[in-house]
């Protein structure tokens, strides 16, 4: 298989995004602590923000501001950045709710380790069945 290095270099942002996404996904599922799992989720979402923002970049482009002499400069696409502003708000809200739930889990179970909580749940399930 031929790998075009120049092509790869031009898509370095996408490679970084995929790497970050996979790292985030792995942490989300493999981590032993509930807070770490939320951090993994945040990394995953941040990778998506990077994906959107780099998508709108135009080489040599600046911010989309109309200059006083009515010249239109080369500017990067602002829309993906604006979308991500919304997505960041959503992600912060989700993270906040998640952390609040972890606090309640810690209060109720006495631990925020995935294994401890799972073990307590299994014991409770067995109680509920009888």
């Amino acid at each position: 298989m031929n790998v075009d290095l120049a092509d790869l270099a031009a898509r370095i942002n996408n490679i970084a995004v995929v790497g970050l996404m996979m790292a985030g996904l792995f942490i989300t599922f493999a981590s032993g602590h509930l807070v770490k799992r939320l951090i993994g989720l945040s990394i995953f979402q941040t990778a998506i923000f990077v994906f959107f923002i780099t998508m709108g970049k135009v080489t040599g482009g600046t911010a989309p501001i109309l200059l006083p002499d009515e010249r239109t400069p080369i500017y990067s696409n602002p829309l993906p950045s604006v979308l991500i502003l919304t997505a960041i708000v959503v992600s912060v809200a989700t993270l906040a709710v998640g952390l609040a739930i972890v606090v309640r889990i810690k209060e109720a179970y006495g631990s925020a380790e995935t294994d401890d909580v799972a073990a307590a749940d299994i014991a409770l399930d067995a109680d509920a069945q009888t």
């Binding site: 889990i105 179970y109 409770l124």
Partner: protein
């Protein structure tokens, strides 16, 4: 009056949001009343809008007067008006239930947060169903999800496993939304637009096969997570079983339906049923996984002792029916899916509210606690029985019509194996529904404790839902015709 109806699409989303903010600041009883009144108003608005726009759809509502594709739009057409009414009806049932038998489930300082979260969820789900903008859909999905996490976590006050269920729901829900938004990114890269209709038009003019394939892969995975497609359903049974009953009534009835509706819109309205990527994903992913969900959900429901867990696994099986139906990819199948969504939504809401009323009298959540329910509280038990019968797919209920149409569509498509799976999936409920019905109707049970009575705020709405299930099941022609023309419209939208 005219102005209200013109702006109804904006109002039925904004009204619950504003009311939610007010309700959160009020004492518990006031908050519950605000939620109930708002939800009923929203239902009146959606029904009034349907009647007043009969024959004039599709209608595009452009927010702030910014014309599409630049502005954000709501698109109300024959395809989504039926689910919009369904969602607002289920919302009204759930909100009235917070005044009735659900009132004691959220007490203390959280008493006024529950109605507020319920209103946020109703508004957001209506937004998901009506929006015509890909990114706006993401935002509504997340508003709906964040309020749903809160609603499920409220169940943790009574049973601490509810907190863990809410956490798992949050992880899966956030991942699902993230996958969806990556898909939107690829769509934007390939078309430069976020408006569904505009994206569809641009894809016809300038196809970008690789980007489209990547986009649909992510969109499908994200929405399948939200709609709990097997094996991405892991969060669902515990979340539904441990949340307060008014939350489960709304989530089980409407939230999966809204996600599936969004998936149908993206699949058939934007890409079109002839798109090679669509055909590939539907036939190699949605079809076998839908079939697996029907069997897995049905089997787990048989073994569940807890009534709510049983109903939750039954919901997993029903999601399987919907995915298998979507994967058929024909107009008849899409119409059948629409009918099945209505049957499942009304049925599940009825069942969860009725189960909550029954539990108040026995303070137990197991199926055994339904013993003698008919002698104790005939009205709730009647609704419970009709809901169970519709889940089973018994004739004269809408559940039967939905399953019949799906099997019919599978045979017409030539997928005999799918029809066989659906029939097996209709036999499995005989075991768990039969067992439950026997408890409800025939077995003797303990009498109701002194002074505890089921509340009319819970019972009257679910009796209406049960009546709707029977009426549309007996005289199914108008609804089936409406679903057929709705499916035809969506298919035409995405036709190449």
């Amino acid at each position: 009056m005219n102005a209200i109806l013109t702006h109804a699409p904006a109002l039925f989303v904004v009204l619950p949001f504003v009311a939610a903010a007010i309700a959160a600041l009020c004492p518990r009883h006031v908050a519950a009343w605000i939620a109930a009144i708002t939800a009923c108003l929203v239902l009146a608005l959606t029904v009034g809008y349907e009647i007043s726009t009969e024959g004039a759809r599709p209608l595009i509502y452009a927010f702030g007067g910014f014309a599409p594709p630049a502005g954000i739009t709501f698109r109300i057409d024959d395809f989504n008006i039926i689910p919009i009414i369904l969602i607002s009806a289920i919302g009204a049932v759930a909100a009235l239930h917070t005044l009735g038998d659900g009132a004691h489930e959220a007490s203390g300082s959280r008493g006024s947060l529950a109605p507020a979260l319920l209103l946020l969820e109703i508004g957001a789900l209506l937004g998901v169903a009506s929006t015509g903008d890909a990114f706006n859909l993401f935002v509504f999905l997340e508003v709906a999800s964040v309020s749903a996490y809160g609603l499920v976590a409220l169940g943790g006050d009574r049973d601490k496993r509810g907190f863990k269920a809410a956490f798992d729901y949050l992880i899966f829900g956030a991942l699902g939304a993230s996958f969806y938004v990556v898909g939107v990114g690829f769509l934007y890269m390939s078309t430069g637009s976020l408006n569904f209709a505009d994206i569809a038009a641009r894809l016809r003019v300038a196809p970008a096969p690789q980007l489209e394939a990547a986009a649909y892969g992510f969109l499908f995975t994200g929405l399948a997570l939200k709609a709990a497609m097997f094996p991405l359903h892991g969060w669902l049974p515990r979340a539904y079983a441990l949340a307060p009953s008014f939350a489960t009534a709304l989530l089980a009835g409407a939230s999966g339906a809204a996600a599936l509706l969004a998936l149908a819109r993206v699949t058939f309205g934007v890409f079109g049923d002839a798109h090679p990527m669509i055909v590939m994903v539907l036939q190699t992913l949605a079809a076998p996984l839908g079939a697996a969900a029907i069997l897995w959900g049905g089997l787990r429901a048989i073994y569940a002792k807890d009534a709510r867990l049983m109903l939750s696994f039954s919901a997993v099986a029903e999601a399987g029916f919907l995915f298998l139906g979507l994967s058929l990819g024909t107009q008849a199948a899409l119409a059948a899916v629409l009918v099945k969504i209505i049957a499942d939504g009304l049925g599940k809401t009825t069942l969860f509210v009725a189960a909550a009323s029954a539990r108040r009298l026995t303070s137990s959540t197991s199926v055994e606690s339904w013993r003698g329910a008919f002698a104790r509280q005939p009205a709730a038990a009647a609704a419970l029985s009709i809901g169970l019968a519709s889940t089973l797919g018994a004739p004269l209920t809408l559940g039967f019509v939905g399953k019949w149409l799906l099997v019919d569509a599978a045979i017409a498509r030539g997928w005999i194996w799918a029809a066989v799976i659906m029939v097996i999936g209709s036999i499995l409920p005989v075991i768990y529904v039969g067992r439950s019905l026997e408890r409800v109707l025939f077995q003797p049970g303990p009498p109701a404790p002194e002074g505890v009575k089921a509340s009319p705020f819970s019972i009257a709405p679910i009796l209406l839902c049960a009546a709707a299930l029977v009426i549309t099941g007996v005289a199914s022609a108008p609804l089936v015709d409406a679903a057929g023309s709705a499916a035809a419209e969506l298919m035409a939208e995405g036709a190449r």
